[in-house]
């Protein structure tokens, strides 16, 4: 876990305004010049860039990393992200929230995940400074059977945020975001249910933001990024702050009964009314995608009947 202390933050603040000598910094904080030098080195390792001159240090460039002190000024949320935990690298942000106890709204973010998770133990590839890989801890007071409908607030928030940044996207059931037929974001939610209570819901979100075609090399035919689609840079901090705001907004709307997630998903759904296949383990079903049932399950009309599905990978049928 990486968190800058008050001295680090003050060094950044002072050197942003003007060039300051190591001697002056050491007297301000009453620490040795070696200690100052060590802190500058640490900040540089975290992505900050300083000019080193005979007069001292001057901050040249802020870090691209999503450190707490960098993201907090952008946040407009009431509780999501109030507790914010940053890692340069972690196995999985979902696991970290699952295995530890934190307050509701805690956000864990990592520049890279070594064991980013998808469905059925599939991997999610992460590249530092390029994507957003984070998890949110929620403890929604809703009936357990509503968790599926509730889980749809996240793809809706993601879809809305991408739209806000001027990119047309679709939601692929249940919660992937597709742009021009390629995946750009995915969500994996994990809950703890005991009796009739959701004691914990951990929502893990991965988004390709600044990846180039080269970054995505072997998956470039099925994956894309916001940069590739918009053809211009999108600031990760802006995007992240906007996304958290939209998630929180949806959360409150849902709790207040003002958000019909089923209806909203259907409005923005990929391949609706088209011929699709749904593959789960050895089973493959083909038919027309009609929409969602009352729980958020998929309705597919086959030759003889309409069937509801809750798991599986949806693909378009190419004739």
């Amino acid at each position: 876990m990486i968190k800058l202390d008050n001295i680090d933050l003050k060094i950044l603040e002072l050197t942003e305004k003007e060039t300051i000598s190591g001697e002056k910094l050491s007297s301000i904080f009453n620490i040795s010049r070696t200690a100052v030098w060590k802190r500058i080195k640490k900040l540089e390792k975290l992505g900050y860039e300083f000019l080193h001159t005979s007069e001292g240090y001057k901050l040249k460039k802020k870090t691209p990393y999503l450190l707490e002190n960098e993201i907090k000024p952008f946040l407009e949320t009431k509780f999501i992200g109030k507790n914010y935990i940053f890692f340069e690298e972690i196995d999985s942000t979902n696991n970290y929230l699952k295995n530890n106890e934190f307050e509701e709204g805690t956000v864990v973010i990592a520049e890279a995940q070594t064991a980013g998770k998808g469905r059925k133990g599939r991997k999610w590839i992460s590249i530092k400074e390029k994507g957003l890989y984070f998890s949110i801890l929620l403890k929604p007071k809703i009936p357990v059977s509503d968790i599926l409908k509730f889980s749809l607030i996240f793809p809706l928030a993601l879809h809305k945020t991408i739209l806000d940044f001027g990119i047309q996207a679709k939601i692929k059931w249940p919660n992937d975001i597709y742009i021009n037929g390629k995946k750009t974001a995915g969500i994996l939610t994990e809950t703890d249910i005991e009796g009739n209570e959701i004691s914990k819901a951990v929502i893990g979100i991965g988004i390709n933001i600044s990846h180039t075609q080269k970054d995505l090399h072997e998956i470039k035919d099925i994956a894309t990024s916001l940069l590739i689609e918009k053809k211009e840079k999108i600031d990760r901090k802006d995007f992240f702050a906007e996304l958290l705001k939209n998630i929180e907004k949806n959360y409150f709307s849902y709790i207040e009964g003002k958000l019909n997630t089923i209806k909203e998903i259907e409005k923005n759904m990929l391949w609706i009314n088209e011929k699709v296949s749904l593959i789960d383990d050895q089973n493959k079903i083909e038919g027309t995608l009609l929409g969602l049932n009352e729980f958020g399950g998929l309705k597919i009309k086959t030759k003889n009947k309409t069937i509801d599905f809750y798991t599986g990978d949806l693909t378009i049928r190419r004739i």
């Binding site: 469905r119 357990v144 994996l188 703890d192 249910i193 789960d280």
Partner: protein, 150 residues
């Protein structure tokens, strides 16, 4: 003293609902020992218990009826989805029949809409029967496990 009480409060909150039975903290100034009552005996549960009546009939001999009445706690599926006995394909199952489980222990995963729901036991007991096979779809309210309270 206040600090110590706060600390005590925090520890109690931290271990709430967990399997930890005892926490000991000793420093130069003080020693705190927290024990938690984790059952078994009376367990308040929202799920109903089921009565299983086993009737054994033996061949041509005069009918002898053995009534074995057992009260099992039933874990039902709280939602629709696919039932998984292990955290990922190839991993060992969370529980087997005959295992002793404690309140809060994960019994299975029910997946739906890419939401992995870890269903935890709401009582301490022994897993007597697992009613659904791995990878099968389950309905809302479908019986999943019989647990003998302990």
């Amino acid at each position: 003293m206040d600090n110590m009480l706060n600390l005590l409060d925090e520890i109690i909150k931290k271990i709430e609902g967990k399997k930890i039975e005892q926490v000991d903290i000793e420093t130069e100034e003080f020693r705190i020992s927290v024990k938690q009552y984790i059952g078994p005996k009376e367990v308040v549960s929202s799920s109903p218990t089921v009565e299983v009546k086993e009737v054994i009939k033996t061949g041509e001999k005069p009918e002898v009826e053995t009534k074995e009445e057992q009260k099992y706690h039933v874990i039902k599926s709280p939602l629709v989805g696919t039932f998984y006995r292990a955290p990922s394909p190839g991993a060992p199952p969370f529980v087997e029949e005959g295992d002793i489980v404690s309140k809060g222990q994960v019994l299975c995963i029910i997946e739906a809409l890419k939401v992995m729901n870890e269903i935890e036991s709401d009582i301490n007991g022994k897993v007597v029967k697992i009613l659904v096979e791995n990878g099968q779809p389950v309905d809302y309210g479908q019986e999943l496990f019989y647990i003998e309270p302990m």
